[in-house]
Amino acid sequence: MLVALGAAALVTFPYWSAPWASRFATTLLRDALILAIFALSLDLLVGRAGMPSLGHAAFFGGGAYAAGIAGQQLATDQLPVTLGAAALVGAVLALVIGVLVVRSEGIFFLMLTLALAQIVFAIAFQWTAVTGGSNGLSGIGRPMLASIDFSSPDLMYVLVAVTFVLAALVVWGLARSPYGRALIGVRENERRMRALGYDTARLRLSAFVIAGTIAGIAGALSAYSTRFVSAQDAGLGNSVRAFVTVLVGGAGTLGGPIVGSAVVSLIERVVPSILPTDLRISEALLGLVFIGFVLFARQGMAGLGRSAWLRVSRR
């Protein structure tokens, strides 16, 4: 009930906030929600299945390009087609990379996802005929559902917020399902899970593909929001951004990736507007915050909140 009310408030934000909030707030929240979808999908791997992927941007970027290119090549602006293409490309890329990486763990998993995802970036960056190469892909169509055009800022926000709510429900549902429990089992003790008769490689691969699919959809929303796809969307920087978001928020928690995306958006978008314009150090700031969390609060904001709550409730 509370969740439903919260979701309704979130989705209608531009309409009730109009008297006091600026357009900037809607845009900021929209981009934070796209990051949150992206981070939620990554947390399925990092937090649940214990698969520290540093290549998640390949699927985000793949989805962004897929939505843009499908719209142009198929001459359609219909969201079911373009978002479907984004989800499909995210899934297929995740399947191809996943087959190679699910046999690795820990540091090796991280290295391999990084290296293989960077190849997706390089193809996006170099294959100018299809992706626009270093110029990026512009001329993204309008997001249309039947005859409704979602390209106005307010409706674009609503589209993102609705997708976010759906994605959160899917991820949370998966996390609580027997499937989600099995993923945690794989993280905690893979050998025992195998002994119990689980096909752990298949479990890990399926998680990788699901996460890739959702990341692809997040990428498509980003493409529609900015009307542009840059090769950087598929690059290491974006993978790192998602990873930092998950860890700062708290890996393996329901709310962590969402809190993390708020923190990261704040650092990326709000802090630079306070600092002098010739000081562009938001990445460095993000790096320092990340180092701080890894050293002193590995459980992220969610962990900090939980221990603060325990301290208060024990009194």
């Binding site: 520290p52 540093l54 190679l100 990486v101 046999r103 690795s104 820990g106 540091i107 090796f108 991280l110 290295m111 391999l112 990084l114 290296a115 293989l116 960077q118 190849i119 390089a122 193809i123 170099q126 294959w127 100018t128 005929a129 690059g235 290491l236 790192v240 990873f243 930092v244 860890l247 000081l279 562009r280 150090i281 938001s282 990445e283 460095a284 993000l286 790096g287 320092l288 990340f290 180092i291 890894v294 050293l295 590995r298």
Partner: protein, 291 residues
């Protein structure tokens, strides 16, 4: 392709391979000793190139830069290891995550200090010309890179096998904990190893600058990406693995770029995939990267 072109590209590939060896050997050394994949290795490489840029601007001497940049990076590594990594000793994955943060900070600080434009560094006098080889002229500097890589590999091989430092490194790679139990100061050993890895990255940055330029993004490509590919293909933590990986990846990448242009990285992808499927330890490694 004409035979002359094949020959030229083979030279290009080998000189790229030599550079990759300088770059990847540091990553491999740190991993071998500390079980940490330093994801700031590309940022160290980039910083080495920019420090060289400043040294050359201030003094005009490339050779001085070749000394100063690795030294500066070594110092940075020597400070960073106790400051950050040591706090999480034993938690290897978290240590790797720390290096991601370090990389973000270094790359942004470079952008702030040196600017975000593409810069260039010319080869030092005497090496900036070209020579006539079979079928055409060839830049001397690329031959120098090749010779430098081979000399470094040989020197490292001698240090590994014939010196006390090399003995400590080999013992540490086998079992650092046992080495500590035998009375070796592992804190100093780890800090020195991390410093040496950073210095090698800085060295690679200087050597690469006249050929591959000095620009934003070099921390990832070629920096981190190629050094990871080399150690995955060659095998982690061994000197011979770094040699094998470089000699294979350098030419493969160069010919890939000539033959397939737009999708050249698919060649690297294919090599990584093939190695992972057929030899999960890499060609000459001891550690299984995949099951």
């Amino acid at each position: 392709m004409s035979p002359e072109l094949v020959f030229q590209q083979a030279l290009n590939g080998l000189s790229f391979g030599a550079l990759l060896f300088i770059l990847a050997s540091g990553l491999s050394l740190v991993f071998g000793m500390m079980d940490v994949v330093n994801l700031a290795h590309g940022a160290f490489y980039m910083l080495g190139a920019y420090v060289a840029l400043s040294v050359v601007q201030a003094t005009g001497s490339f050779w001085l830069a070749l000394l100063v940049a690795p030294f500066a990076l070594g110092l940075l590594g020597f400070v960073l290891e106790p400051l950050l990594l040591r706090r999480l000793r034993g938690r290897h994955l978290d240590q790797v995550l720390l290096t991601i943060g370090v990389s973000l900070v270094i790359v942004d600080v470079i952008g702030q200090v040196w600017g975000r434009e593409v810069r260039s560094l010319s080869a030092p006098a005497g090496l900036d010309g070209s020579v006539t080889l079979i079928g055409g002229v060839y830049p001397v500097y690329r031959l120098f890179v090749m010779a430098f890589g081979v000399a470094l590999a040989a020197a490292m091989g001698i240090v590994y096998r014939r010196t006390r430092i090399g003995m400590l490194i080999r013992a540490g790679v086998q079992d650092a904990e046992m080495l500590g139990a035998l009375g070796v100061d592992t804190n100093r050993l780890f800090a020195s190893t991390f410093a040496a890895g950073a210095a090698l990255a800085g060295l690679a940055g200087v050597i690469a600058a006249p050929v591959f330029g000095v620009q934003p993004g070099m921390d990832t490509d070629p920096g981190l990406l190629y050094s990871l590919v080399v150690v995955v293909v060659g095998g982690l933590g061994t000197l011979s693995g770094a040699v094998a990986g470089s000699v294979l990846v350098g030419p493969a990448d160069t010919f890939g770029k000539v033959l397939f242009q737009d999708v050249a990285l698919a060649v690297i992808f294919a090599i990584v995939a093939l190695v992972l499927l057929l030899r999960p330890t890499g060609l000459l490694g001891r550690i299984r990267i995949a099951r």
